[in-house]
């Protein structure tokens, strides 16, 4: 099959920019009456054309079980795999021998939002979230402790598109 080559219509002789100017002006004038594409952000966070991806990797969430305890079993995989070394985990153990995190802190400033922690978690406890509005008044507030991670309510990232798991 022949390759489709787009042939540009070049002017055969030298022409000035008079015509091009008029053409450009007609174009910009036409654009003044076209529908605006601006999204009125703080009031409007998604439109029919655009919404934030479900695969967005934002600030973390720790999921909890029915009793409201974190699902984390302090296995230590997430601090192990974290490329930015931003997860601080001190494991503890209760009377029944169940492991749980004594301290679980994520420094969101160090985090590179790769999502490895969610991928590696055997209990589906730690997740990256679909969230991007993270303003704080102090830098210290960006170290999220366990309580904070559990109290977040935003959606968790799917990391991949469920309808296209192979990424095709």
């Amino acid at each position: 099959m022949a390759i489709g080559v787009k042939v540009m219509r070049r002017p055969e002789r030298e022409v000035s920019y008079v015509r091009a100017t008029l053409k450009g002006m007609a174009l910009t004038f036409k654009h003044m009456f076209e529908p605006k594409v601006t999204m009125q952000y703080p009031e409007q966070k998604s439109t029919t054309e655009w919404s934030i991806s479900q695969r967005w990797r934002g600030t973390h969430r720790m999921l909890t079980d029915e009793q409201g305890r974190s699902k984390c079993v302090a296995c230590g995989l997430c601090p192990q795999i974290c490329p930015a070394n931003c997860i601080k985990l001190v494991p503890g153990e209760d009377e029944q021998g169940n492991r749980y995190p004594l301290i679980y802190e994520i420094d969101e400033f160090r985090c590179v939002f790769c999502g490895y922690c969610q991928e590696v978690c055997p209990e589906e406890a730690i997740h990256v979230g679909v969230h991007f509005e993270n303003a704080e008044y102090t830098r210290g507030r960006f170290v999220y402790d366990l309580e904070r991670l559990q109290s977040q309510t935003h959606a968790v990232s799917t990391l991949w598109d469920p309808s296209d798991p192979q990424g095709e």
Binding site: R10, P11, R13, E14, V15, S16, Y17, V18, R19, A20, T21, G24, M25, L27, T28, F29, H31, M32, E34, P35, K36, V37, T38, Q40
Partner: protein
């Protein structure tokens, strides 16, 4: 002091307050308009957060600029550095004093204002701050003074970008001043007067000069763009090449003054275009010549409409065209506009001689129509030649540049 003199001074002061208030507030609103127009042309909404539909945005910008830190570069010439914004700003504002913005208002009063004594004024009051007999010569003279501000700002900043911006502004101003002045000579030829009042009266009697003097209008408009340093001729600023050009080193209110000056210049050039080529405050028909309060208000509103159209046109061009290259700018000024303007003066001289002395037409309307006929031919010729690339070469020159430098060895077999 006679009561008439005091009345004149009183009314002049009132007119001054009115015009300068309108210009300063208008200039502030023009910054908003510019941002809105640019936004619309790019399918955006533009500023709409501060006040209703963003109307308080200029006030917010003003407050920001007043509160910002005034910086000044090390080794800058402090004196000239502070003086330059004022030098750019003052001529820009001065020009608004000579533009007539409405039909003369018949005034007739005789009052006594407490200890100031009696005031009186009788007769039509021209709706212009200073009804100068030298008219557009004053505008040409003062508008070219604005370049001192820019050149000194560039030089005193002790910065290479600012200096280049200032130099470019100077060269550009000199180049386009010539074409601008020459383009106004046909106006002088058919009105026989440089005063704005006389020019408007002549346009009322005949046709608006844009019809009999189309090419003058065209050249004046292009030179006007160059004089106000607006795109596509904003080489003194040229943010992609010179950061911000001549005002690179300025901050806070001094920077703001340059902007006010630029917009005030835009207003002036648009007012000049309106006055010289679109009849000023003239409403077609006889009605506006009767004189009266209603006529003054209506003509003022009509002048404002025309002015706004041209201001919009300036913005429209700005958001359509890219910046010229510097040699293209110079070539357009010296090699295209100036010869055309000179030739056009000859054409108009001949035409006027032919019409008035050979054909013997003296009625201003007929004379204008005859000139219009000449202009249709001239405009077709000039734009045909322009379009075929005789005067201005486009950028499509690959035929020439594609020529191989070394003769290619012939491959055989």
């Amino acid at each position: 002091m006679t009561p008439e003199m005091k009345g004149f001074i009183l009314l002049s002061v009132l007119k001054m307050l009115f015009v300068f208030t309108v210009i300063l507030v208008g200039v502030a609103l023009l910054t908003l308009m510019e941002r809105k127009v640019s936004a619309w042309m790019q399918n955006r909404r533009g500023p709409n957060r501060v006040g209703w539909a963003g109307l308080l945005q200029p006030a917010a910008d003003g407050v920001k600029n007043i509160l910002k830190e005034e910086t000044s570069p090390a080794l800058a010439n402090r004196w000239l550095f502070v003086l330059a914004p004022a030098l750019a700003f003052i001529p820009a504002l001065m020009l608004s004093a000579v533009i007539p913005f409405a039909a003369p208002l018949p005034v007739d009063f005789d009052v006594t204002l407490g200890p100031l004594g009696p005031f009186a004024y009788h007769g039509p009051l021209p709706m212009v701050v200073a009804d100068l007999p030298i008219g557009f010569l004053f505008v040409l003279a003062i508008s070219s003074m604005g370049v001192y501000g820019i050149a000194l700002a560039g030089w005193s900043s002790n910065s290479k970008y600012a200096l280049l911006g200032g130099l470019r502004a100077t060269a550009q101003m000199i180049s386009y001043e010539v074409a601008m002045g020459l383009s106004l000579i046909p106006v002088l030829l058919i009105s026989g007067n440089v005063g704005f009042g006389a020019i408007i009266r002549d346009q009322q009697a005949g046709l608006w000069y844009v019809l009999p003097l189309f090419l003058s209008f065209f050249i004046f408009l292009i030179s006007g763009f160059a004089e106000t340093n607006r795109l596509p001729f904003d080489l003194p600023e040229a943010e992609s090449e010179l950061i911000a050009g001549y005002h690179t080193e300025y901050s806070a209110m001094k920077f703001s003054l340059f902007f006010i000056a630029e917009y005030a210049n835009v207003v002036t050039v648009c007012a000049m275009v309106t006055t010289l080529f679109f009849g000023g405050w003239d409403i077609p028909g006889r009605w506006d010549e009767q004189g009266g309060l209603l006529q003054t208000i209506a003509t003022g509103a009509f002048f404002f409409l025309k002015l706004m159209f041209w201001i919009f046109f300036v913005m429209w061009i700005r958001w359509t065209l890219p910046r010229f290259r510097y040699d293209q700018l110079m070539a357009l000024g010296w090699k295209v506009l100036m010869p055309i303007a000179l030739a056009y003066i000859m054409v108009i001289c001949t035409a006027i001689y032919g019409i008035e002395h050979v054909a013997g037409i003296t009625d201003p309307k007929l004379r204008s129509l005859a000139l219009l006929g000449v202009n249709v031919v001239v405009a077709f010729l000039v734009f045909g030649l322009l379009d075929s690339g005789v005067f201005i070469k486009g950028s499509n020159r690959r035929q020439h540049s594609a020529k191989p430098l070394v003769k290619r060895a012939t491959v055989t077999g």
